[in-house]
């Protein structure tokens, strides 16, 4: 089939504005009579708090200091509504928003922020997700009986029996750290009233969900909230959860004037989600020919202080724990756990990025034990058309994994390289004797 446009490397429709500097990101909007907002954030990981905003409010040029008392429905969150717009009684992580100062200039807002007195009464905090799973661990959210907010179970076949039949079994634990999206454009936004409609202009991945979140927090109908999503300076999952949207919407609704806020890079790091760190414990077994027979994995994902997308992330991690291989016997337990770390949410790959760090090294280790090269072991086990995944799903169309493996092999020559290395090792061993 011949296409006219599809399949052609058309020039991006948004590129022209971007190369001449005319693309407008949220910080590029300025309005008449605009006020500036600055967010006060927690410096403690787990503490009861009390705020004294009097001095800030008395400062010349400060219009108002918003706290939890000003928010009609003080909650938000993409799955569980476990974030407070502004913390009311306690903070659960460093960076939790406590107040939003609105002033006539950015400088004054910044100064006013420093005059707010925050009384922290620290309570025991938990930073290790495995320890957080224990019964006596401090609770990050009191309304949850445990820090474990999700447990995904995958059960296929009988791993105990299958491991008995394995010629080789590899057991290892893997860990991956918490990382940031590092999109180049730090969060910025501008909100204003258009009649009785609250308009929020901010970079987001999902304008319609932001609309819902703002409407719920402000207790107004969704039709009275409009989200304008101008040029977005990268996202990678980090603009899934809202940051300043409700702060701005609330301030403009109360004050009736346009409000702008621009985060510094440091505040951006504090404000948005992170990639889930995971502890991944794997046991994988194969027969003498390299055919995978069984895999068992326990995945513990640290979602930090808030759930964000943790349930979906750890589910995705669990489903993808096998890698693109047919394994008849699989047991996976995947957990999402609260701690007092920065909160983790969506980031490029969404749980499926962490597990290959484990399953792909497991594959190579099994191959090495059996003296099979890394390409062949993958071709033996890799999904093809009609394969069944560990969840029982049949891959009924478009499964070009082997083509991908072969293309890489043709370019890099891993097989040959492996064989040469083995020969060298054999020679060395021979010399040794």
């Amino acid at each position: 089939m011949k296409f006219k446009t599809v399949g052609h490397s058309e020039v991006r429709v948004d590129a022209m504005a971007k190369v001449i500097g005319e693309a407008t990101y949220p910080e590029d909007f300025y309005m008449k009579d605009m006020l500036w907002g600055k967010t006060l954030r927690s410096t403690k990981a787990h503490a009861h708090v009390n705020l004294d905003t009097q001095d800030a409010e008395k400062m010349e040029g400060v219009i108002k200091v918003f706290t939890y008392r000003d928010v009609p429905d003080n909650h938000h969150g993409v799955v569980l509504k476990d974030h407070e717009v502004f913390c009311s009684k306690k903070v659960r992580r460093i960076g939790d928003p406590l107040a939003f100062v609105v002033a006539i200039s950015n400088k004054i807002a910044e100064k006013a922020l420093k005059t707010i007195k925050v009384e922290y009464n620290e309570i025991p905090a938990i930073f290790d997700p495995v320890e957080a799973m224990m019964k006596d661990a401090p609770l990050v959210h009191e309304n949850h009986k445990s820090n474990i907010i999700f447990h995904y179970k995958l059960r296929r076949g009988n791993i105990e029996e299958a491991f008995k039949k394995c010629a080789v079994i590899i057991e290892k634990q893997y860990k991956c750290g918490m990382v940031d999206h590092g999109f180049l454009q730090p969060e910025a936004g501008l909100a204003y009233m258009d009649g009785d409609t609250v308009v929020v202009c901010a970079a987001t991945q999902y304008p319609h969900f932001d609309q819902l979140e703002v409407a719920e927090a402000l207790h107004i109908s969704q039709e009275k909230v409009r989200i304008i999503n101008p040029a977005v300076g990268g996202a990678f999952g980090g603009r899934e959860d809202i940051t300043m949207q409700v702060h701005l919407a609330l301030a403009t609704k109360v004050l009736g004037r346009p409000i702008k806020t621009v985060y510094s890079r440091e505040e951006s790091f504090l404000a948005h989600s992170k990639r889930h760190p995971m502890v991944m414990t794997y046991k994988t077994g194969a027969d003498a020919n390299g055919k995978l027979l069984a895999m068992e994995a326990e995945l513990v994902g640290d979602t930090g202080a808030y759930a964000s997308w943790a349930i979906n992330v750890m589910r995705k991690a669990g489903v993808h724990a096998t890698g693109p291989y047919e394994i008849p016997n699989v047991k996976v337990d995947s957990y999402a756990v609260y701690t007092n770390n920065p909160f983790a949410g969506a980031m490029r790959g969404f749980g499926a990025t962490q597990v290959p760090i484990a399953h792909e090294q497991q594959m190579d280790m099994i191959a090495e034990e059996l003296d099979i090269d890394p390409i062949t072991i993958r071709l033996i086990n890799g999904f093809t058309l009609g394969s069944t995944t560990a969840t029982g799903q049949v891959l009924s169309d478009s499964v070009p994994l082997k083509e991908c493996i072969e293309a890489v092999e043709n370019s890099l020559g891993i097989k040959n390289h492996y064989e040469e290395k083995m020969e060298e090792l054999a020679m060395e061993a021979g010399v040794g004797i």
């Binding site: 001449i20 990268g234 890079r265």
Partner: protein, 164 residues
């Protein structure tokens, strides 16, 4: 407050500024040229790159008063004034798919310009060196390097055509 005079994209400005104002704030908030972006505020990301006195600087790392008497080029001044003709660098960025979110692009274009002004046949390694102060999180740089390589070709060709 202090009064300074400077030239931006060929236009003269005489401005009253705060002593501690940064050049980027002058360019964006005072003059209203928002093509210059702030990505880190500490000279690491290069999104705020402008050409001052013929060389690239991070405009977040220059105080506005230091720009007194200087000539500055921002992204808005790269394209020829009064016509729609893109600079060959901008054209090459479009054609090679070097743009994604676009936030780093103004700075990239200016770094590319400074590089090509000095060396019109840079190697790919020299191009990488030339943009090593401009972070990009989207493109992995390769298409940007492709684009600058192509722009160099365009510029050399343009110079040759002009000679004829």
């Amino acid at each position: 407050m202090k009064k300074i005079n400077l030239k931006i994209n060929g236009s003269e400005y005489s401005l009253e500024i705060d002593e501690n104002m940064r050049l980027i704030d002058l360019i964006r908030d005072v003059v209203g040229l928002t093509g210059t972006k702030e990505g880190c505020g500490e000279g690491e990301c290069g999104a705020c790159t402008v050409i001052m006195g013929g060389v690239t600087v991070n405009s977040c790392m220059v105080l506005a008063f230091q720009a007194n008497g200087k000539e500055i080029l921002t992204i808005e001044g790269v394209k020829g004034k009064g016509n729609d003709k893109l600079h060959p660098i901008q054209k090459a960025f479009l054609e090679e798919g070097a743009v994604q979110c676009g936030f780093c692009i103004p700075g990239m274009v200016l770094s590319a310009k400074a590089l090509l002004d000095e060396n019109n046949t840079p190697s790919r390694e020299e191009i990488r060196e030339g943009i090593s102060g401009n972070l990009c999180r989207c493109t992995g740089y390769n298409k940007i390097v492709d684009a600058i390589e192509k722009a160099a070709y365009y510029l050399v060709k343009e110079a040759e055509d002009n000679e004829i």
